[in-house]
Structure formats: structure tokens, C-alpha cells
């Protein structure tokens, strides 16, 4: 390698390392902060302290931790399963059974991809209140189940699904829904894994819509309750950071469990 190439290589490593440091530092900061007193967090103490259990105790005394995690888990898991089911069926349907009319419908649907949520949130709220389901998990989950983005993603990924598999299954006499369930689904594992990460993250972190539609403390999600703690006049950062560590764990775990399939799944969708 020439000297110039080595220098260039060095610069690439340096920049990537800075990026990696900037990306990871807040996580380090969060974990360290969770072990420190609020006053130390605010003034930038960057070493592990001995307050972890005290902070945990304050957190559990201040908010109903099991309850809000239960709420978030139910919403995120149900929301993810239903979104994947409904949207992958549609993505598969659009790709596998083509007709001129459905192609037009698909193109029209993509136009709606750019409709911001803000444009529909007020009517949605009024709809939920006239259906008397404000403050329920159903009200949180229902609007997101049919996701244009995920339908589009599955249609793109389905293009890579080998048509010989489908033909073979037809020859064997499988019905279309059986082909979807027993052939397509297992083959597209990594596509589903990538979609799971994206949808689960979106559901777990969803903020604006739950903020509007959930209005009693016992139904609110982790995101809502912990973010409310930060707007206190004198926020207890030690306690809040313990809460944020807990709130980040589910998405982190899902990500690390599915990371390999995630990259493969994305690969399939942009081919």
C-alpha cells in the first residue's frame, strides 16, 4: 500500500471511530448516569457512581413500573404481530396476483405514503371518541396496523421470492393461503425479522398518537410516563436515566437477537 493510500485509510478509520464514539457515548452516558445522583448527572460526572439501587427504588416508588411496561409490551407486541400479518399479506397479494386495477390501487396507495400523521390525527381522535374506545389499547394499535410503508417493503421483498417454489406448491395441490403460510412465510424469515425490528421499534417508541389517545395513568405507555418525568420542574435525572435504560432494553434486545436477519432482510428488499 502506498503512503497516500495508508494516510487515506487512516483518515477513514479516524472518521468512522469518531462517528462510532459519538453514536455510543450517549449510551455510556445513560448507563453511567443511572448510577449517579441527579446533581452529578447534570454537572457532567462521567464515572460510575453508587446510586443505582437508590435510583431504582425512587423510580419504582414514583411510577408503577410493571404496569407501564405491561402496557407498552401489549401495545408493541400486538401492534407488531397484527401489522406484520396484515401488511405482509397485502404486499404478497399485490406482487403475486397482478391485475391492472390492483396496480393502479398500489400506485395510488404510494401517493398516500406521504400523508403526514398530523393530517389525520384530529379526525382519528374524534372517530375514536365517537366509537367510545378512547383510552384503550385498541385505539392505539388500530390506526397503524395497515402500514403503507411495510406493504411496500414486503412487495419489494416478494420480488425475490422464487416463483418455482410457488409453482411446485401449486402442483402439490396447496391452496393459495397454504402457500403463503407454509412456503412463503418460512422462506422469508429474514424479511420478517427486519420488518419486526422496524415495526416493533416504531410501536414501542410511538409517542404522539398514544399521547393523544391515552389519558389515564394506568393505561399510559413507558414512553409517555417517563417522558412526563423529564418535564418536572426539577427533574431527578438519576431516576429518569434508570427508567430510560429500562425503556431502551426491549428494543436493544430485539435488535441484537434479529440483527443478522435484519441486514439480510433489508438486502432482499432493495434488490
Amino acid at each position: 500500500m502506498s503512503a497516500a493510500a495508508m494516510i487515506r485509510r487512516g483518515i477513514v478509520y479516524l472518521l468512522l471511530s469518531i462517528a462510532a464514539f459519538v453514536s455510543i457515548f450517549p449510551f455510556y452516558w445513560m448507563v453511567v448516569g443511572a448510577t449517579n445522583k441527579s446533581a452529578d448527572v447534570v454537572t457532567g460526572k462521567a464515572t460510575i457512581g453508587g446510586e443505582l439501587f437508590a435510583n431504582l427504588a425512587t423510580l419504582f416508588a414514583t411510577i408503577d413500573v410493571p404496569r407501564i411496561f405491561y402496557n407498552s409490551a401489549v401495545i408493541a407486541v400486538l401492534g407488531t404481530v397484527l401489522t406484520l400479518a396484515v401488511s405482509s399479506l397485502a404486499g404478497y397479494g399485490f406482487e403475486m396476483f397482478r391485475s391492472r386495477f390492483r396496480e393502479r390501487l398500489f400506485a395510488l396507495m404510494l401517493l398516500f405514503l406521504s400523508i403526514p400523521f398530523a393530517a389525520v390525527m384530529v379526525p382519528l381522535f374524534v372517530m375514536m371518541s365517537s366509537a367510545h374506545i378512547v383510552n384503550s389499547f385498541a385505539a392505539v394499535i388500530l390506526p397503524g396496523i395497515s402500514s403503507i410503508f411495510i406493504i411496500f417493503y414486503f412487495r419489494q421483498a416478494t420480488k425475490a421470492f422464487p416463483s418455482e417454489l410457488r409453482d411446485a406448491a401449486r402442483v402439490d395441490g396447496l391452496k393459495e393461503w397454504q402457500i403463503f403460510l407454509f412456503v412463503y412465510l418460512p422462506v422469508m424469515r429474514s424479511t420478517y425479522a427486519a420488518a419486526t425490528i422496524i415495526v416493533f421499534m416504531g410501536n414501542w417508541n410511538n409517542y404522539l398518537w398514544p399521547l393523544i389517545v391515552l389519558n389515564t395513568a394506568e393505561n399510559k405507555t413507558t414512553t409517555l410516563i417517563i417522558s412526563a418525568l423529564t418535564s418536572a420542574y426539577v427533574p431527578d435525572y438519576g431516576m429518569i436515566l434508570v427508567g430510560t435504560v429500562l425503556a431502551t432494553l426491549p428494543t436493544l434486545i430485539i435488535f441484537f437477537l434479529l440483527q443478522r436477519q435484519f441486514v439480510e432482510g433489508l438486502l432482499g428488499s432493495v434488490k
Binding site: 452516558w29 398516500f112 398530523a118 425503556a247 438486502l267
Partner: protein, 296 residues
């Protein structure tokens, strides 16, 4: 006969597979959109409203808070989206080099921010960027600034902080899309270019970017929509302040509907302004991407 039967079964299956999604979209997207379009021509407070014609649109052009929110949103979009897309592209191009060591580590590290929970990251940014927080301390220590920067108190720095926060969170997300797309590009193209003596930067601008154009377009549109809908970050980090300097359109709609005396009609008009902007921008981005095609 068999042919016709097959065609019919194709039709039935085609509709059956997409029916649940289409019905749900009809109820939870199409119907509310039409409703909100109708609402945007209504005036009045709470549930008492009457037809107001273009009154709301006239009000829009005279509403200083709306114009402020519109301006802020545009600044966020114009500054943040290009920075993020360029960074994501550069990282992806660097990480696509098979001879690079620790690729897996770098990729995971840079992607990690978008896995954090929203509250975690807004709380972290709020505390790290406090007046005497860790960022100011580090900058003072490195002599990058003489006095602590009032990140949360100054209208200009508050905007910078929001831009930093969004960029931190979403760059890795966009990068992964580019990385995935890059894997599909035949490596021999790069080898041939290298042998022909094409420098690294030219390989990036002449090969990587043109080949990634569809993905770049896709991520740019998604990021544009995301930035124009900005709500979570501003509501959690700066609450739109100081003095409305980080107020966004989505936050203003939320305030109009759920914080102030509800005026559904006017907030619907404001939300339709976002629809119009997104439509124009997506169309422009699409045109730009299409125009350059013959050259590439």
C-alpha cells in the same frame, strides 16, 4: 373453461390477500383525510362549527405563529436532511470496503442510535446539552468555546441542538439502506475503476451515487416526510421553545387541538399545509432524480 376458472381464482385470491389492509387503510387513513379536508373549511371552537369557506386559509397567511412554525420546519428540513443523507452515504461507502477491519463493529455502533427509545434519547440530549452539562464541559476543556453554549436557552442553539439530535438518531438508519443496496453492486465495477486509476472520490461520485439513486430518492422522501412531521424531539427536548424557536407544524397542530381551546377546523387547515408541502417536495425530488437519469 379451466383458463377462465384459473383467472377467476387469481382475481379472488388477489383481492382476498389485500382486502384486510385496504379496508383498514380506508377506515383509518382515507376517511380521516377526507374528513380533515372537509374540516379545514369549517370555523368555530370545539364541536360547534360552521362552514367558513376560505376563512381558515386567510387566517393561515396572517397567523405569525403558523409562519414561525412553517419557517422552523423548513429550516430543519433544508439543513438536516442533506447533512444526514450525505453522512449516511459516506459511512455506507466506507463500510462497504471489504478490506476494512471492524466493519461489523462500526456498522452496529452507527446504527445503534435509532434503536434507542425516544425518551432515552431526548432525556440524554437534554441532560448532556444542559448549560453545565457534559458537552459544554468537554467543549470548554478542548477550547472549542470560551463560554458555555446556551443550547436550550438560545433560539439559534436550540435549533442546532434539535438538528444534532435528529441527525444522531437517524443517520445510521439511512446508512443501513445504502449498505444493503451497495451489496448488490457488482464489486468488479469498482475493481475495474480502480485499475483504470479512478480516484476514490470519483468512484464515490461517479459509480456509487448514480447506482444508489433509487434508494437515495426513497430515503430522501422518507426523511423529508419525517422531518416535516417533526414532533417527538421538539416536544421532549425543547417543548418548542425558547420563544417558539423550535416550534414545528406538528407541534403547533397538537397545541391548537389539544392544548389550547380546540379549533379542529383551523388545525385541519394547518395539517393540510403539510400535505401540500410534502406533495410538492416529493414531486420535485422525483423530478430531479428523473432528470439526471440520462446523464448518469
Amino acid at each position: 373453461m379451466a383458463q377462465a376458472k384459473l383467472a377467476r381464482s387469481e382475481q379472488i385470491n388477489g383481492w382476498a390477500f389485500i382486502a384486510p389492509a385496504m379496508v383498514l387503510l380506508g377506515i383509518f387513513l382515507i376517511y380521516p383525510i377526507i374528513w380533515s379536508l372537509w374540516m379545514s373549511f369549517q370555523v368555530g371552537k370545539g364541536m360547534n362549527f360552521s362552514f367558513g369557506g376560505f376563512a381558515n386559509i386567510v387566517r393561515l397567511t396572517k397567523d405569525p405563529v403558523f409562519l414561525r412554525a412553517l419557517g422552523n420546519t423548513c429550516i430543519f428540513f433544508v439543513v438536516q436532511v442533506p447533512i444526514m443523507i450525505v453522512l449516511a452515504l459516506l459511512f455506507a461507502a466506507a463500510l462497504n470496503d471489504a478490506s476494512l477491519r471492524f466493519r461489523g463493529f462500526y456498522r452496529t455502533a452507527i446504527f445503534l442510535p435509532c434503536v434507542t427509545s425516544l425518551i432515552a434519547y431526548s432525556t440524554l440530549f437534554k441532560s448532556m446539552f444542559a448549560q453545565d452539562g457534559v458537552v459544554n464541559k468537554a467543549m470548554l476543556f478542548l477550547h472549542m468555546t470560551a463560554t458555555p453554549i446556551p443550547w436550550l436557552q438560545d433560539p439559534f442553539w436550540a435549533k442546532v441542538l434539535i438538528i444534532l439530535a435528529i441527525t444522531w438518531r437517524w443517520t445510521g438508519y439511512n446508512m443501513v439502506f445504502y449498505l444493503a443496496a451497495l451489496q448488490n453492486i457488482d464489486r468488479s465495477i469498482y475493481e475495474a475503476a480502480r485499475i483504470d486509476g479512478v480516484p476514490a472520490w470519483a468512484r464515490f461520485t461517479q459509480i456509487t451515487i448514480p447506482l444508489l439513486k433509487p434508494v437515495i430518492l426513497f430515503t430522501t422522501i422518507i426523511s423529508t416526510i419525517g422531518t416535516l412531521q417533526l414532533f417527538d424531539e421538539v416536544n421532549n427536548i425543547t417543548v418548542g421553545g425558547p420563544s417558539d424557536s423550535t416550534l414545528t407544524l406538528s407541534l403547533y397542530i397538537y397545541n391548537l387541538t389539544f392544548r389550547f381551546m380546540p379549533s379542529f377546523g383551523y388545525s385541519a387547515t394547518v395539517s393540510w399545509s403539510i400535505v401540500v408541502i410534502v406533495a410538492i417536495l416529493s414531486f420535485l425530488q422525483f423530478l430531479i432524480a428523473r432528470d439526471r437519469k440520462p446523464a448518469a
